[in-house]
């Protein structure tokens, strides 16, 4: 395949497809690169690697599930959504995120994130039930309540508007939903640390 050497040598300069494990939404979600053939070249390379690794796993005894989520590089023009529609989503997403209603929920040890709308719950009890339902398929143990039950390994925490991680349940519900930016179900010693701090 001609040009392969160019592909490889270009890789060093390609910041835009650098794999990152940073918080979602910290970058502009997707910048349509106006004239960037490198973008598609890299996309092809990334896609090729992915496709090859997937085809290699065919026929092998695999569980069919990925072990960990891959932070996928943004590819120009994929998924194929018209700019006009894309811009509507981003405007709405920005509005939603500002209102603090849709939040992502991650759980330590779970292979993927979920997203929930805090508006639909009436209080902490409903929220906890919903989170249990969302993540029960992982059988990672029971969620701790805000009451700090014994024997449970997890603590439900949230990131507030100032970027601090707080234990869920300390403030009135209305105040909580207006300041919560995302949720994280913490496990292990971190959870114990959170729970025991004043």
């Amino acid at each position: 395949m001609e040009g392969e050497a160019t592909y490889v040598s270009d890789l060093d300069n390609l910041k835009a497809t650098e794999l990152r494990l940073g918080l979602p939404g910290t970058d502009a979600p997707e910048k349509p690169t106006p004239a960037s053939p490198r973008g598609s070249k890299r996309a092809l390379l990334a896609a090729d690697e992915e496709c090859q690794s997937k085809s290699k796993s065919l026929g092998a005894d695999s569980s069919g599930q990925e072990a960990a989520p891959v932070a996928k590089a943004q590819v120009v023009g994929w998924p194929p959504i018209r700019s006009y529609r894309k811009n509507s989503f981003q405007a709405r997403k920005a509005e939603e995120e500002a209102a603090g209603l849709f939040v992502k929920v991650s759980m330590d040890g779970a292979p993927y994130l979920r997203k929930i709308d805090l508006k639909v719950y009436e209080g902490y009890k409903e929220l906890r039930k919903a989170l249990e339902n969302l993540f029960k398929c992982f059988s990672l143990g029971e969620l701790s309540g805000m009451e700090g039950c014994n024997g449970s390994e997890y603590a439900i925490t949230y990131e507030d508007k100032d970027g601090d991680w707080m234990l869920v349940g300390d403030v009135p519900w209305e105040m909580f939903i207006s300041s919560c930016k995302r949720l994280r179900i913490m496990s292990g010693s971190e959870a114990r640390g959170m729970r025991s701090s004043p």
């Binding site: 106006p34 598609s40 070249k41 992915e50 065919l58 529609r85 894309k86 989503f89």
Partner: protein, 590 residues
Amino acid sequence: MAIKKKKELDTEEKSPENRILSFPDEVLERVLIFVKCHKDRSAVSLVCRDWYNAERWSRTHVFIGNCYSVSPEMVARRFPNIRSVTLKGKPRFYDFNLVPPNWGADLHPWLVVFASAYPFLEEFRLKRMTVTDESLDFLARSFPEFKALSLVSCDGFSTDGLASIATYCRNLTELDIQESGIDDLGGSWLSCFPDSFTSLEALNFANLHSEVNFDALERLVARCKSLKVLKVNKHVTLEQIRRLLVRSPQLTELGTGSFSQDQKLRSDADLESAFSNCKNFNTLSGLWEVSSVYLPALYPVCANLTFLNLSYTALQSTELAKLLQNCPLLRRLWVLDTVEDKGLEAVASSCHLLEELRVFPADPFDQEVIMEGGGSGVTESGFVAVSEGCPNLHYVLYFCRQMTNAAVATVVRNCPNFTHFRLCIMNMCQPDYLTNEPMDEAFGSVVKTCSKLQRLAVSGLLTDRAFEYIGTYAKNLETLSVAFAGSSDRGMQCVLEGCPKLRKLEIRDCPFGNAALLSGLERYESMRSLWMSACNLTMNGCQLLARKMPRLNVEVIKEDESDDMHAEKVYVYRSVAGPRRDAPPFVLTL
């Protein structure tokens, strides 16, 4: 003002065999007026020279699927009596930012020629063309009988251009700028329609961001008694919609503005009664920012709805279910995947006449939120549910994050009449998530079962097998879109050799190279166009194609200097106008 051409009857040729030749042109032209479809007209024009002439004199609408396939002068020479022009410009992948800006497809050269050739032109329907304010102003002043302007996915103009149209087009019936990238300089253009102007039948400015003067809009709607289509933008509030509906109960298509909390709304009953007065609604769209408490106001108009576009409305499944219970006659439905599989089950139980379903992703770029085994978004089970409840389904556009071969096979077994099957599994190269196999069998079942298939878009992990199936079975296929798929040149070859009706082929990020490109030598002249980007094409391969097929335009888009050999983006199309004369520096015609 048709210019009639009188044919002298040749009195010597009255024998039975020649009777068809002495058929007067005027009669034939009168008959041909009833032939509207441009494909039929093309067929008519090929019968014999007399029919070619009769056809060209009687044609009033010309459809140009690729603006570079012919020149405006050639069109004007052949067809003297055109009233309506449809023009399409940029390759479709322009919509996804794969074509650089300033690529071309400028309307202006067409306007200049047509201003003198067709002074009585009435309609322009444009898609993916670049249209400037100068062009709009020129158009408005050059065509005194101008009636309808439709700009779909166009760009290059601002609201100033709209002001020219509103000011000068005294006979305007239609102004539609849907999904065009417009430079929004404010809403005052709407106030440019003179008070004496009453002919408007269709107005669509849903994509504008700025507020128009509501008083001007209300007065415009009130005096245009023939208004049938009204699609407003987000800034128009519920109370304002209510007032507009009171003025125009004859509407058949409505695009609402914002459908959320409005302090000015006196009561929900008022809103509902405004809707109930409208007995002729068949299409509803808009519904930006819906507060579900107001949805019941729509129920009176749902009974006759055939097209419901909720693709900008983040509805949940229960809200959708309640709404759809009132829409038994629905034929076309567009939704966001916020409705989830449960919402699609509601579609299946309420809308048995459904023919078209489009499910758009609410959060397509949220790559970290990977859904497997259920969650937000739609899955294969929603797709199967719809196919079980809606046997007339023939058009689907479905964005999802997971799919199985078995589910697709079930869907097409339930709905074998698909003409348009566009499945987008958003994670690239994703296999069947249950079996981990490629999605080849899914598309195999589509092409084997759906013999009427005209348009196909594939996705997921695909090997050459999928393309073998397509080439073997998809004998009516006209449009194929491929991304991140295939294993070798053979894939593309199968399609080019096997699909006789193929007209548009667009490919990105696939391992197809020069051999594949050149295997289609015989095909490209019977196709509208071929697009290949981020494949394995080289300049040499493209040059060879250009040399062998001089009636094709082989264009390479070169945006950086680094790799001279690789042909990053290639656009091949047939043309009788020769190479482009307006190509920007980054477009090389070989």
